[in-house]
Symmetry: D3
Subunit: 331 residues, 6 copies
């Protein structure tokens, strides 16, 4: 079945076998490597995947930088066929661009590289949906800035699943993982009223951040309220409101939105958070929105994971999002 | 309280104390060892337990072979009294037959031994309910074949809780843990229409397996749908349909049906799976069906478990099943 | 921002920084140390926290004695602001009294010290709500006895969240963690009809304990029933009934009430238990009851925890309880 | 090969198969269970094994009480044949008496039971070598007292491998695991000059304990010095000196004598301790001394072990000691 | 520095970057992938690496099958430059052939494939040194048989570092990991006198295996004796004796030869085994022998490893062996 | 015994109890907190301890920033009395200054703060021996620069225990943890000939770094050679040579010098490294050198540690160094 030239042998198990012509691929056999020699095809992808292995910008010590590699290893255990929706992701063409190059001791270079990478994606793959695998939440500010660099006239909104506001003051410790939304608001990249954050709860946000959110007009709903209303309705309403006022929606999933029992690999996950089935449902709905133009998955530290539970849930988030994306295209 | 002959001493804690005459037994004090010298009593058991420590037939490296021993250690922390149902399992007589002998390097001998063990059970304990503790899912095919060897005229259906179809092609890699249902269909042991699989979901089954299932007439319901309808109704309906057409129902629980947050010891458990309370509810209902003639619990690898969560859930599955079984007898 | 005298330095990270004048404190910056030099202020606290590091009285080997220290470390990651309720716990004054001194080889001295500590609290802080961090469940009997020593005429009831009855016979092994409720009943400290235990289930209580509970008039509801009715209603009803007949309610949370997937650090947690969001909801309602006079959190062994999930859930239980307490004061 | 009555089946893997007539036994097949019905044979054993599952007397929280069970599970992976010495332990008759019954909340009862158990052993098995599997080090005082109860006229010395003096003041916290040697000295059971402690080092003993040791005439040698001189010579000399003045030598191995890299399951193991090969060498030499009359292995907490390294080393200590014992008999 | 075509990006971190023209490569950048299109170069490699991911032939449940992948991941943290010997392995050309294809349920097919793979190596790379990464020890018998199929007239000896004889009876459980040496002796592939096994010790070999070894003339030395004599001398003597009588020496390293404190990932490692520096010294000397024609590393289960200690030691064994090989060439 | 004002209570177990007047202190009771109100005493300390919680400058993701807190927790299990040397560290006055304040996203600010902290120490505590607890190895460059800022005329040499040269090119990734020695050489802070690095080995340094070391005249010795010569002699010779040419010696211990079996918490520890007893011996000798003016302990990531082995070894390194320091003063 394999095309490996040596009789009786399989290639080394983590070599670049992507893009093989396999009838029923696993995810790693479906996602293609970028091909430098056929740049004319770069625009033809439905989606592009970009690893953003930066977590030295985290307030707490984090190895979320290891997550892109962890994702690539974990998605080998997923097929492309979604049984729930009877839909095969392999009908999409998806390319893996590799990882943004990071500097060891100068975080501002890292952030610039991330912004530039998003610009390059927008230039080279204008019709593709970018999916970014963090890394910590500081990257979201850079990615949206990069997007806006190319599309300065678009009004961009944010749908955020998160335990935290991410509205900390940048003058305290610079553009850390606690600041991305404030970073975008203060730089007039996004308006407060165009941010919808779902899943906040409990004792994990200082009061001043809530005050700031209220003053900035940021929209948010606690996990408790979201659970009572039902995830389908809550996400649907947020998307409807956003679609009515913005041109494009950036979707960001902070894995610490998970309940602590479900997210050992998201060190900031807390008691009272989202359960796995709620998260997957929310993500698929977001993927189906015509205006969602990009997404990221952040703050997942695979070195702290247990039984790969959080990493696999993260990969499923990506695939559920792409499921919504396929459904969007079929509408 | 103990009858150990040495004053002040307790016997070694894992010695064979089963079958002691204890007023309020723990599970290990209730389940009896098989007694070679009183073979005339062999037919009097309500249920027989059989360990099937085979997992070298697993596609992925597995230590599910260690699970029968893990169960026997873990059930010491369970009483026989079910508070929810105000019912005491110790009114049942249950015997532990030990484990099927396995061959190290010839899996076909293992499979034959498993089949023969089920035949022996059907002969020696014709009125007992067999409960098999795997081991991987390949054993289910052998166990049902063994059952049919003794009861060739019975039409046997399957109720399956699983993340996977288990319908892989046997010509690829032989009778592995991905193949048991197909094995039974292709050998005309069970009909496709007599299989009900509940709990499948997500990206864990190739499209061709779904096609095969459809062509074979296998019945299945995704986890998402089952959760929406409610486990009680879903299992009830599946059992009703089966009861209307088959003579006997074999019940098989692949522990990977659990959500990944609840099943660290089931390495194939995935995001979006069944929660513990849903599983226990489903199992008890199945135990209460008059036509359920045997059950197994498979694909639980205790060496990967965390805080014994999955092993204890597995033991509870067995006890909840026996709870249903007692309720069935009381009807 | 810090007042540490040495330029550029922060104090050692776990030194006693509590009671600092910080505008938006973390929990450890809000809870005050007891100040020996201003004993006149001892009565002014809204709540007092007492560590009870005793677990050598546990039937199974336990390191729950390490839990008070684990709590104090873990609560540094919580703010005092509760976003769900838009309420700031820092408006309460809370003092940490430290830990009850324990004897290594004489458990009766430990128990006497615990009882005396509660008496001292009732004398020194008559208007404060005591919150005790165990240790194992044997401490509850001593704490309620100490309370009754000071308030002999009050009729005290118990609201208990637990997988177990805790009604074992004291003549077997003395006042272990399996006996606190029976200890109180047999000593006429509390009446059976004044005990409400919610969350029991499955195969974790011998039949004789249920019989004892019934004969003693202890009220209880299984987890299954509580989940069907809804936690809000169940706890509300139990509190209403208690409030109608007793003067004060002691609230005790055995962390083993959690489902095993959510409570790796509660070694007696079992399959089929309470989920995190259910527990937090129950606790907050209890905190809001005007008659609840004290609470404890027991049987959490941090050395067995995974990803701090159970310890953080335990801390959240304390904070959710205080949230209810603030709401009570605002009524 | 197995005599299990059921064709194709093996008995449950941890049932009491000891004492089977197996030509080349594993350790669990060689060590016999005590047989209540043939008490006339009780005196014929070469050695008796006694589990002493007490660790609630430990200063730090400990689960060393789980160690006897851990040993019995672990020794299944050892044969009786010692390749180094070309000697087969199965030529000895060894019986497992089970475990001393412990009380949950009264440690003085536990200690009395342990003392009584040793008295029973000396009465029932006067010619057998007792090997005690702790438990914490507090048991050593009780075991030697029990021995002396039966042999009041014998002068008993102690050879101790330990990181600590175990000379703490009993008036502080009672007969904890820090006190056994002092307990014996103060009660005139053993003389200071008859104690030889090897392996102490570093920052793990208060100065006053050294002063006490010096004043009491206790002999000791640091690990550093022992390593320089060589374990064979050091142990040989200590035994020679002891043999010259006492009637019997009790040998006690505190597993915390191991270097921390080799003893994860001995929580008090420290940097700079003994390596595995040094420990095994020391133990075998001690076993060969004609005057060594009993031994114990203490302070091994299997719940903290990693990869079973410390438990297996502990079992090997027992077997190496028996190797020396066989060599003694052959002299 | 990187030649990746996309500005600012690095390729996915585990893609096939081997064989890049990097001035100071890490091991994964040095070892080349096999190139199907330039088969004329296949003979030019100094060494070939072959993964043999078979462990379902293990007596105990094992995931040693995962080891080739673990090696390939771990060797990224090693440079090619050996500072101790001031020698750069990158002067050698080494190719990675990938893994032998294994069958899931028919171990005899696996064994045949392994044998055939060695034959293919001998044909396609006649001048290369094969290094096999197991997998369990059963593969050694197949690899040597495959070698002999191509070189039937050569007399092949074995240098073995192992805790065990690996001389179990094949009629018991077939060609398991306990049998490879006996398999070769009984099939007249190797003579008993041409086997030198170093590192056996303790209670891990039944007496009958020693008797068999003696009768077969197998040479062996215990770890204790080897440590006393010094590893350099012991290995040197064994090689000298072998070189004097055989044509070629096959070198096999069972990682369970390590002391249990150093080999958590070698589940059969035992107390009293080899320390890391001793193993590395032994391996380098073996690599330097002119007659050593192949080597394998077996019985390392990376799923049980702690802190990657055993996997990294295994990779170092491979590199130390190649160091010796380079020194051999320079002689 | 405790002076805590509340009867029967102990203070919270990790509060600042240092500097208490305890007759036989544990390390945390001996080391004093800095007292802002008695600045006149600041110069009277024998040694000052400074935490340097920076590891975002690490090439690989690291949580070595958590190490100062881990040290402070772990040293509670150490006494001040060194039994080997019969010497009590509590005769020294040692102060804990707390931790250098770090910036989240600007590493150059972190490095400047570290340098300034060392300058402040040299000014405020001119007669004290500074001991720095890292953090990663990048801090060493800053600390020595800070020292030189105050003592510009002193010639400072370095004694380094390390697996690596730490001579990477700063133009690649800035002043990361791979560069400190080169940083100092290129900035003419230290001369190559004044650096002695002991413990390098294996495949962990690129050839170009060795070339650079040779050209810069850096002195180094492999672990293998050091073990053969004996640690005492090797360290003694290096110190003698340094003492002959420099004014002061800075001693830096990279914990990755440990063998991988002994250093799970030092992620860069490798096979073939130093054993614990060798490290402790080396450190004590260094502490005794009259010219050693400061020391640091780096690259210990407590979140990866197992059984606290590496953290406790790190604390012992600090205490062994202070032991040497006391011996120096007594000379």
């Amino acid at each position: 079945m394999s095309s490996y030239p040596y009789p009786l042998l399989n290639p080394p198990p983590f070599s670049w076998t992507r893009g093989e012509n396999v009838s029923e691929p696993k995810v790693h056999q479906w996602i293609e490597p970028i091909d430098a020699h056929h740049q004319e095809e770069w625009g033809a992808y439905d989606a592009v995947i970009l690893g953003v292995p930066l977590s030295r910008s985290s307030i707490s010590a984090s190895s979320a930088s290891e997550n892109p590699e962890a994702f690539r290893r974990a998605w080998k255990s997923f097929t492309t066929y979604n049984l729930d929706e009877e839909l095969d992701l392999s009908e999409l063409r998806v390319v893996d661009l590799g990882d943004v190059r990071e500097h060891v001791t100068d975080i501002s270079i890292c952030h610039q590289n991330i912004r530039d990478a998003m610009k390059a994606i927008q230039s080279n793959h204008p019709n593709s949906l970018p999916i970014m695998i963090g890394g910590d939440h500081s990257i979201t500010a850079q990615l949206i800035k990069g997007y806006k660099d190319i599309h300065p006239k678009e009004r961009v909104g944010i749908l955020q699943l998160d335990t935290h506001f991410d509205l900390r003051d940048l003058t305290d410790n610079g553009p850390s993982n606690g600041t991305p939304i404030r970073n975008l608001l203060e730089n007039q990249v996004v308006r407060g009223e165009d941010v919808y954050n779902i899943g906040l709860h409990g004792f994990f946000n200082a009061r001043s951040l809530k005050t700031y959110a209220d003053e900035a007009g940021v929209n948010y709903m606690t996990m408790k309220e979201a659970r009572q209303k039902g995830m389908e309705q809550v996400i649907g309403e947020a998307l409807s409101k956003l679609e009515a006022k913005v041109d494009k929606i950036y979707f960001t999933v902070d894995m610490d939105v998970l309940d602590i029992s479900a997210g050992p690999g998201a060190p900031a996950a807390t008691p009272g958070g989202m359960y796995v089935h709620e998260l997957l449902e929310a993500v698929q709905i977001a993927g189906a929105s015509q205006k969602v133009c990009a997404m990221d998955i952040v703050c997942l530290d695979p070195t702290k994971d247990v039984a790969q539970a959080t990493v696999k849930t993260g990969v499923h988030v990506m695939l559920s999002f792409l499921t919504g994306f396929m459904q969007r295209k079929e509408q």
